[in-house]
């Protein structure tokens, strides 16, 4: 385990003090008053066609969290503040500036003056209050609400005037007003009736007439043909402008064409039917897409290292694994450390991701630039060390069958559940199986359909699993369900009443403090500590994080890839095309 050197610590302390002084003098300002202007200049007009593999479940983002619904909200609605998906900085959006109290409990937001909804109605603080009221209404069962409850309580909002909103938090939040990035502001004049008569959860379903969908986003819905396409026209009342002063978005029209099959999606891009795909390329597609780029058919861009990585873990819930004698050694961290030492991460990256991945030792990858710590404990490829670790917990190959066992004959033999049909999952399990076999641990792959796998996962009806869990946000305060032992995504042992181990208890207290600390430097220090503790105990084994590649047509301009979703449409207002 490595700790920061005194010199680095000194720099951190100085920076923390400077930040505190700054906060004291100015409150907590973080606004960038230039967010209303795009950073690049594009060509006005034209139509861009993006492929999509799924259709939105609803046009009301508060009631569904699926990716297509989120993308729809991003194109047609706007939050008060926005996390820039490329710089990871918080930007003013519908709120043009704000002040936060030093204790982080009160935030005063000033709304953008003169802004209009797409139907021409003025945007006011009443819309913000209405959105929060709808989000916290128990009848609505909003999927967004649980992530926007500092201290587990709803934010209290008041509006001193039509352009100002004051938000009172029950407890400081490490994310500050960054929490509001997930909340699209909805028009009171369109949805108030539905909230009053209890039909808000069904309002703005996908059968709603496009003219009824009003927003503050860059586009307005023109047409929805289920299973075929979504057509958006530019919002004439959108508030952002280009550097040359012209109003955004550049595009007159954006079409999302539904192509559910990924091979067909790529062929459509190569054929020029679509301009971009919304998801990253599979490792198997790198070579053909590079060839197509060389032929001048499309452009390949690297988005950086992804923030999520494939992982291997065991069910460590003693209640669910009663009677399984293997639990005695699986629960020992030496066992998991031994597997970590046995896997050659360079070879893993080369085989599973065809070389387009970087080795990792924890859940936070270099793709999560604000929170990645390079100083977590590492487990270099060392088979002798791995065998020693197994021996230290009584696992040796006593009968010479190539598999280690305990003194009473319990073999280290496991079935690894993974999702069927994903080639790199199957390659990943294959590499782990081969490399673990060298130290006497036997893995057998069991690919299965996604719904079946999820059912087993949630009931802990598995021995080991290999898949890619996704974090909902980059900010660890937004992923407490993973870090806290009581969390529903603490997947190796979910929803513990009290921490099952000392180190999980330690992470609980570190993360609770981290999530309620306003000081950025202190938050980072605490989170580094949590990452270090997790990597020491390896409840989940991480091997490599893939680099993300995207492809788009050569006529598409202004593409700024992000490792967050949606990776290319997050800045749809700044995309343009070089031809009609």
């Amino acid at each position: 385990m490595s700790r920061p050197t005194p010199r680095i610590t000194g720099v951190l302390v100085t920076l923390s003090m400077l930040a505190l002084v700054f906060l004291f003098v100015r409150g907590c300002p973080s606004q960038d008053t230039n967010a209303g202007t795009a950073t690049t200049t594009g060509r006005r007009g034209g139509q861009l066609v993006a492929s999509a593999r799924g259709t939105p479940r609803t046009f009301n983002r508060l009631v569904a969290g699926d990716q297509p619904s989120d993308t729809f909200a991003m194109l047609t609605q706007g939050p008060l503040v926005r996390m820039n998906r490329a710089t990871f900085q918080l930007e003013p959006w519908l709120a043009e500036k704000w002040e936060s109290s030093p204790d982080g409990l009160t935030h005063t937001l000033h709304l953008r003056r003169g802004s209009l909804w797409s139907d021409g109605t003025p945007f006011t603080s009443a819309d913000v209050l209405f959105t929060l009221q709808a989000m916290y209404d128990p009848k609505v069962e909003s999927v967004v609400a649980s992530g926007v409850m500092p201290g587990g309580k709803p934010i209290q909002a008041t509006a001193p005037d039509a352009q100002t909103v004051v938000l009172a938090y029950a407890q400081p939040s490490g994310s500050g007003i960054g929490l509001l990035d997930a909340v699209p502001i909805l028009p009171k004049h369109k949805l108030e009736g539905a909230l009053k008569d209890g039909t808000f959860a069904k309002a703005w379903n996908t059968g709603t007439a496009p003219s009824e969908i009003v927003g503050m986003g860059p586009f307005v819905l023109r047409e929805f043909k289920p299973g075929e396409r979504l057509v958006f026209d530019r919002n004439p009342n959108y508030w952002r402008t280009a550097p040359d002063g012209q109003k955004l978005p550049y595009l007159d029209r954006l079409v999302l064409q539904f192509i559910p099959e990924q091979n067909a999606e790529l062929l459509a891009l190569q054929a020029g039917t679509t301009d971009l795909t919304q998801s990253e390329l599979r490792p198997d597609d790198y070579v053909p897409v590079r060839r197509a780029e060389e032929e001048g058919k499309l452009t390949l861009i690297e988005g950086g290292v992804g923030p999520d990585a494939d992982a291997l873990w065991f069910c460590l819930d003693p209640e669910q694994k009663k009677g399984d004698r293997r639990l005695a050694f699986v629960q020992k961290r030496e066992f998991r450390q031994a597997i970590s030492h046995a896997v050659d991460r360079e070879e893993f990256a080369h085989t599973v991701f065809l070389g387009e991945a970087v080795p990792i030792w924890g859940p936070i990858t270099p793709g999560n630039k604000p929170w990645f710590s390079p100083n977590v404990p590492r487990y270099p490829y060392d088979l002798a060390k791995a065998r020693d670790l197994l021996k230290s917990i009584g696992l040796e190959d006593r009968n010479g069958n190539g598999v280690v066992e305990t003194a009473d004959g319990v073999e280290a033999r496991f079935t690894v559940m993974t999702q069927r049909g994903i080639a790199y999952y199957e390659r990943g399990v294959s590499v782990i199986r081969e490399q673990a076999a060298k130290i006497g641990i036997a893995f057998e792959a069991a690919p299965m359909e996604y719904p079946s796998m999820i059912e087993r996962l949630l009931k802990c009806q598995y021995e080991a699993v290999y898949m890619r869990p996704y974090f909902s946000t980059l900010d660890p305060a937004g992923n407490l369900d993973f870090w806290l032992s009581s969390g529903s995504t603490h997947f190796w042992h979910m929803a513990q009443e009290t921490p099952a181990t000392e180190w999980e208890g330690r992470i609980d207290s570190i993360m609770r403090e981290q999530a309620t600390t306003v000081d950025a430097a202190r938050r980072r220090e605490l989170f580094n500590d949590a990452q270090r503790t997790l990597a020491e105990n390896v409840p989940v084994l991480y091997f490599a994080a893939p680099r993300l590649y995207f492809a788009h047509s050569r006529r598409t301009m202004g593409v700024v890839p992000s490792v967050m979703r949606p990776p290319l449409l997050w800045n749809a207002d700044s995309l343009s095309v070089s031809g009609p």
Partner: protein, 322 residues
């Protein structure tokens, strides 16, 4: 005839209820449910709310009872994936599948019967051999492979659209332009579906025709000096068509099952693709409604096959009337 139709319609109704109920039970009893679509680690409250909304917290028999009692009022439940009633979604998709199936049926019939008559009415020749060889090849290629090959050719040559039903450029198009665009998009999935069926029709028609031309009444016609074209099309073909009519109904049913993968690969927004998506997601009521639509297609197909057989063969007509 009326009794025959009533009998067939009753059979269709029973088929619809049995198929959709079986689909509901099988989807319910398969491991995993639709809430997996909320993500691997969705909040428990969200998962429970979805389970309650879709009746997954109830006993499967109770759930079926409630579903069937709503279904008689034409309320087939909501789709999780589309978050709206399944009825209009399935009706819209079924219309698109019917268009694709009809187009494939027309192409396969014209191609298969025409070539079958050609190869069956001649003894030998290199052209007949080529047609036979092509038929054997197309019968052997499954629709999945055929779709992939055609999509690949379309992408490389850009002769045809690679998928979908409408171009992105048709948003402001007139209805005639839209119609032409749909027809243009129809070519690829139609070929993917029609070629194997046309090949099967060709083989059936060819064999049946070669038997028909050896019948004594045809020898008598030849002796009377009837022209070859009239001999083939007026005398031999009506006799040889019976086996084709017999399998026509089944072919309509198989068009639907074949369309699953073709619609998925070519992004044709029909019932096959909808059911595939619904099955993958375990979207229980959508699966049931799609299965009912599939059963409807099959019932309609067999009825149409019987009617065609009755038209083609007076003996069958007499049986029905008796």
């Amino acid at each position: 005839m009326a009794r025959f139709l009533i009998r067939r319609l009753t059979f269709a109704l029973v088929l619809l209820v049995c198929t959709s109920s079986a689909a509901l039970f099988l989807t319910r009893l398969a491991p995993g449910d639709v809430t997996s679509q909320l993500g691997a680690f969705a909040p428990r409250a969200e998962v429970e709310a979805a389970r309650t909304r879709f009746g997954l917290d109830r006993n499967p028999v109770v759930q079926w009872g409630q579903w069937i009692s709503r279904a008689v009022r034409l309320d087939f439940g909501d789709s999780f994936l589309y978050n709206r009633p399944v009825g209009p979604i399935v009706v819209e998709a079924a219309g698109k599948t019917a268009l694709l199936a009809a187009s494939a049926l027309v192409v396969s019939t014209l191609l298969g019967l025409g070539l079958g008559v050609f190869t069956g009415s001649r003894r030998a020749g290199w052209l007949s051999a080529c047609v036979r060889g092509a038929s054997v090849m197309f019968i052997s290629v499954p629709p999945l492979l055929m779709s992939l090959i055609l999509v690949f050719i379309a992408a490389r040559t850009r002769w045809l659209p690679t998928g979908g039903m409408l171009s992105a450029t048709t948003v402001d198009a007139s209805w005639t332009e839209s119609l032409a665009d749909v027809a243009w998009h129809l070519v690829l999935p139609t070929l993917a579906l029609a070629l194997p069926i046309a090949a099967a029709f060709e083989r059936l028609q060819s064999q049946s025709m070669s038997e028909a031309v050896r019948q004594p009444f045809l020898l008598a016609a030849i002796a009377r000096g009837v022209e070859r074209r009239e001999l083939v099309w007026r005398h031999a073909w009506p006799v040889s068509i019976r086996p084709i009519c017999g399998v026509y109904g089944l072919v309509i049913g198989s068009l639907l099952s074949g369309s699953f993968i073709v619609e998925y690969i070519t992004a044709w927004p029909g019932i096959g693709r909808l059911m595939y998506e619904a099955l993958r997601a375990r979207d229980i009521y959508l699966v049931s409604a799609c299965a009912a639509a599939g059963a409807g297609f099959l019932a309609f197909g067999t009825l149409l096959g019987d009617v065609l057989l009755a038209v083609a063969d007076p003996r069958v007509r007499e049986d029905i009337e008796a």
